[in-house]
Symmetry: C2
């Protein structure tokens, strides 16, 4: 069984953020939701990085507890669930975008990522805004 409440190590905002999303998987789930239109357990499992099923279930629960995602019935199938980013989750997009830019600058990444960073360099504000607006619209479905 998991602890219900996370203990924060300090009142430093970075430290607190890491207490929530400071692991190798949480941000990838958020990435899938924010950039890849993935939103079911099965989607995340086939996300490209081979997360273990127990870890995925654990992270989904933690992210839900942290108020970053919510779990809904799937409109097309009772066997599925639909995960969505909350406003708190959507607000992570600017941080993700900066991480992408940094990583693209210093590492070999997928051509798709290079293209995305090129767009960012051209007009970061607009690109970020468009992504966020798109995600907010989803919230009403």
């Amino acid at each position: 069984m998991r602890k219900k409440n996370i203990e924060y190590r300090s009142s430093c905002p970075i430290s607190t953020a890491l207490d929530i999303i400071g692991d190798k998987w949480s941000l990838l789930i958020i990435r899938d939701l924010a950039f890849k239109g993935k939103n079911t357990y099965g989607d995340f499992l086939n996300g490209g990085e081979k997360i273990a099923t127990n870890i995925l279930a654990d992270r989904l629960m933690l992210l839900e507890m942290a108020g970053i995602i919510t779990k809904h019935p799937h409109p097309e199938s009772k066997a599925k669930h639909l995960y969505k980013l909350t406003p708190k989750g959507i607000d992570l997009v600017p941080a993700l975008v900066e991480i992408i830019s940094w990583s693209e600058k210093y590492h070999e990444v997928h051509p798709y990522a290079k293209q995305f960073v090129k767009q960012l360099k051209n007009n970061k504000e607009a690109v970020v805004k468009q992504i966020i607006e798109g995600l907010k619209k989803d919230s009403f479905n």
Copy 2:
């Protein structure tokens, strides 16, 4: 013994970033270097979040291997070492700043952090630029 080369799970820039700094401690060391003027092993140990000595040594090595920090002799004492951010490390500041903003918005944080975010809201570009310039200047000492 530690592995010498990190294996990247995929060519996704976020995934690659997490392979390097996706843990509970690395970004706190970088925070200490970037925002708190800390730059020795002892400084990091007393950084407020009680990192274990073996983990600190391990993370310093990994960050150095990743090209994010460098290790230098201390100008005032042969018993000490001086750690500095590389340009790659300095380039993480914008991501850190976004994480700070996000975390401050949704969590209880230190008043100092609230003040910092207020400045950011007023003029993010200038604040970030000033921090980065300050760090770059240090590189020449």
